[in-house]
Symmetry: C2
Subunit: 556 residues, 2 copies
């Protein structure tokens, strides 16, 4: 008994913003009973993950211990917390999944795509209810964020109480969903908290966070001042914002139309699970077409410039029969996530070409963050007053800064990136193991390891182009006819002003004519040699060394 321990092990989210996945365990070393908090996705980009659909934390460690896994708890329904539940459910050994009603509704939708029934997800009430999960008792403690029903987890173990904040802000007027209830939090913390595992994303924002309630009057004013069609985008999951936008539109006598699958999905889930009431009546896109534009408000997906979302389609000209034009207004009631700037700017310029007036958040009037800023983090530390602060959900720079912040205020901070197993037992937290972690790519319908080389090869083809070389050799290893090349992603002509294909084929032909039997009889040697000829010859011609596939056909 004495060697049992309480451990914390982030598999994702501690070293990036996205793909949250945090393991807690209690038991004898190596035999801990485990729970997983959140199982989210991160999003790919052309620079590092071309063609990839989604990114998950590598859960191999957990998969190998799935019989130790008691349950999965989902703090809230953002994709970076719940998005991987369907894709990884089977690999996790089909565990029990616990969530509150709205979050559970979204999780069930994701599991249904893999044919998993609704009963996989158990719907929980908020604190003071608790769920038994092996050695743990876990409760959902309401906290405000930019999505309904976000919850911190109160994780009780034989070693004491841990609080995992999930994503949060300290908002006493969140409009939809529960307000931050300082008294309740103090009460929960009053018995002593061993560790606070705490959201870090906004640690570099030095001002106190602003309430969701502050944007309503500004949006209302903007809508009232606009004369043409009014279109607004925000994250679909920010139900409070969608409601604020819709209320502002309705108050101005505009009909509300929701565009984009996610937008409709989130509002439906909110109404169904009771987190949203009093949402204005919406009209279909078909009906919207017949409404005078000055009486219409569209609330659309695509705040991050996503190519296929409603905002991008409107920017390209038309979506569901609706078009924007001179005199219309488009509002980004959102911030641009780093990396998405070019996509967003592209849309703004397209709207500019249509004569649409764009209002973005540069004024700070039409968006507030869903995360706790630096002063709010300090307040959270004070309210919970834990023995240890472990920053989570952030890049290394956020975790480091948050750790410093805790330590500046005389708390024990632990900088634990993905794979760092921290024991919370004993007198002081202690790193007891480094676990191999990484990323898994969902690529089409297949899960690929980030280090498998698949994506590396794609990036190389994107940078360098590709040449297929074909050579046919007869029974005596003599070339039968000339070698030929197929080029993809390469310029047609190079330095010598002849077709690149002809130059390459000529050089290959000359090489083959000179090649000796030892080379020609060995597939490996001939492939390597021909690859080198192509890369050298292309480099001379076009200043680029392509990727090369050599196909040797032998007549035997």
């Amino acid at each position: 008994m004495s060697n049992e321990r309480l451990i914390y092990l982030p598999l994702g989210g501690a070293g990036e913003i996205g793909m949250n996945a945090y393991v807690y365990g209690y038991g004898a070393p190596g035999e801990e009973r485990l729970i997983l908090v959140d199982i989210g996705v991160a999003f790919p980009d052309m620079d590092t993950t071309p063609g990839v659909d989604l990114i998950f934390a590598d859960i191999t460690w957990l998969e190998e211990r799935k019989n130790q896994l008691e349950a999965v708890f989902i703090t809230h329904a953002h994709e970076d917390h719940v998005g991987a539940i369907g894709h990884l459910y089977e690999r996790l050994g089909m565990p029990k999944v616990y969530a509150r009603a709205f979050t559970g509704n979204i999780a069930r939708g994701k599991l249904a795509e893999y044919g998993v029934g609704d009963n996989a997800v158990k719907i929980c009430n908020a604190w003071p209810d608790q769920v038994d999960a092996g050695p743990f008792k876990v409760g959902f403690l309401p906290i405000s964020h930019s999505i309904p029903e976000s919850s911190a987890l109160v994780i009780d173990s034989p070693e004491g109480r841990v609080i995992h904040t999930g994503d949060f802000k300290l908002d006493e007027t969140p409009l939809v969903g529960e307000a931050f209830n300082e008294e309740l939090w103090k009460e929960v913390a009053s018995s002593g908290v061993r560790a606070l595992i705490c959201d870090s994303t906004n640690v570099f924002s030095h001002n106190e966070g602003r309430s969701e309630a502050v944007v309503g009057p500004e949006i209302t004013k903007l809508v009232n001042e606009s004369t043409g069609m009014f279109v607004a985008t925000t994250f679909a999951s920010n139900v409070a914002r969608v409601k604020t936008l819709a209320d502002a539109g309705a108050a101005a006598g505009r009909s509300i139309c929701l565009l984009g699958r996610a937008m409709r999905r989130m509002i439906e889930a909110s109404i169904k699970t009771g987190v949203l009431s009093d949402f204005p009546t919406v009209v279909s896109p078909e009906d919207a077409k017949n409404i005078p534009r000055e009486n219409l408000m569209l609330i659309v997906t695509g705040s991050q410039g996503e190519r296929r979302a409603a905002s991008a389609q409107l920017a390209r000209g038309k979506h569901m029969g609706l078009t924007m034009k001179e005199g219309d207004t488009f509002l980004f009631s959102s911030k641009t996530i780093p990396g998405n700037e070019k996509g967003v700017i592209h849309i703004i310029n397209s709207f500019s070409e249509l004569g649409v007036d764009i209002v973005d958040d540069s004024s700070g009037l039409y968006h507030v963050s869903g995360h706790a800023n630096r002063p709010d983090l300090l307040k959270m530390h004070e309210v919970v007053n834990p023995q240890i602060v472990i920053p989570m959900h952030g890049e290394h720079r956020h975790l480091r800064e948050h750790t410093k912040l805790a330590e500046q205020n005389r708390r024990k901070g632990v900088l634990a990136v993905n794979g760092t197993m921290v024991s919370l037992s004993g007198n002081a937290p202690e790193v007891v193991e480094y676990v191999e972690t990484g990323r898994t790519y969902l690529d089409g319908s297949v899960q690929v390891g980030a280090l498998d080389g698949v994506i590396r090869d794609r990036i190389r083809m994107a940078l360098n182009g590709h040449v297929t070389v074909t050579v046919v050799l007869d029974e005596n290893d003599d070339p039968l006819g000339d070698p030929w090349c197929d080029l993809m992603g390469l310029p047609e002509m190079g330095r010598s002003q002849a077709a690149l294909q002809d130059v390459l084929e000529e050089d290959l032909s000359q090489f083959l004519n000179r090649a000796n039997g030892a080379t020609l009889s060995d597939d490996g040697k001939i492939e390597e040699a021909l690859r080198r000829v192509v890369r050298q010859s292309a480099n001379d011609e076009i200043g680029k060394k392509p990727e090369v596939t050599v196909v040797v056909s032998r007549l035997t």
Copy 2:
């Protein structure tokens, strides 16, 4: 004579930030004598231009009229204004190039890479000197910017005076280079200005611009407070900033070491051309290694997170024998250009892992922009008091906003994007023609048209992977042996848990066995059919349709 006209035609820069290239002409329609103002580059990205080295304006229109081209004038030495001079010099018909000393030094370096001698660039004095260029007289009117010797162009024609601002800010204390001299500008404008062609990049910045002089005291304070090694990055061409950094370091008793080719190149050019004096003595990287870190300041390239620059190399561990560690400070005395966020953040996190303290510009203390903000643009309009304002150097949104700004202040504004030929003759400006424009990619050593399909194919391979299919057919069009596949950038295994290659080969083999003579005897048909088999089969297995190259070898 009466039908002669003065025209303005942007080929690049009016619809993007980057690749500036503006044509002015005077003469009978179609026979105008032309000058080109600036010939810059834009920078590629993985999303749209993987593997591309640089982007230029498509100068085909000008190339076809190179015998009408009198000269090229370069306003300043930023890459987006001078970067393409070497690459396009021959296509432009080897025109005369005019620039002031510092700019000319940089231009000569670029031309030298193409074997063009220094005498191609004529060094000009500042206003009131003027250069004759056919019907034009052109003078270099000093203006402040973030690089020495930036100049507006005063372009006199028989139709009157035009002022082309180049990039500018209104800085009366720029530290290096000439201050904005309002009196001189008023004097130049006093005889009447037909059109002001004006920088637009900061039209959305609502505060008055700040002088270069404001950052010095803040940087000095920061350097004095830091205890370990101090490393700072900024644009190498921002010579004033480099000097401010070096002065702050020297004043704190630190030895200064410049890292990165561009950094040394710019300082050398500045000293050689006399725009910079009193630069602190620098030490070599070799010597720097032997200096205690608390006595050392590095000024390095790579403010935009460029992978090969000195900052990125230091972040990865070591550069020129120098390493950073806990207690050191890294300052971004720069802003991140949209699109570069991920690269910069990556470096910041790498430094964070090393324990280095990062100071960026989020406080606004350590960087000022080199461009005129909205109030400064208005002031420029007032000082020059032109009949017409034509916004240039900006994305569509900037040009549109700047046009509106001019019109709100009762000036005639013209929104002219790339390819819009505007006649500045007659009572009002008039769009007289739309010229086909676009982009040219420097890809390795070859210039490729943006619409040639080369890059599109690379992007497809990056997104979808690539399969080479090889089939050998005998004299009777019968398959000789089985078809085979080479995969690149694709997962090894798919849904059926067999090697993807085997599944594809099996499906191809089955198809060939069923194929009729009409298909097998026709290369086009067989290629199309096999491509379809691979894409369908891969889609079933891995949820992805790869790019396919089919190689049919026929024994004849």
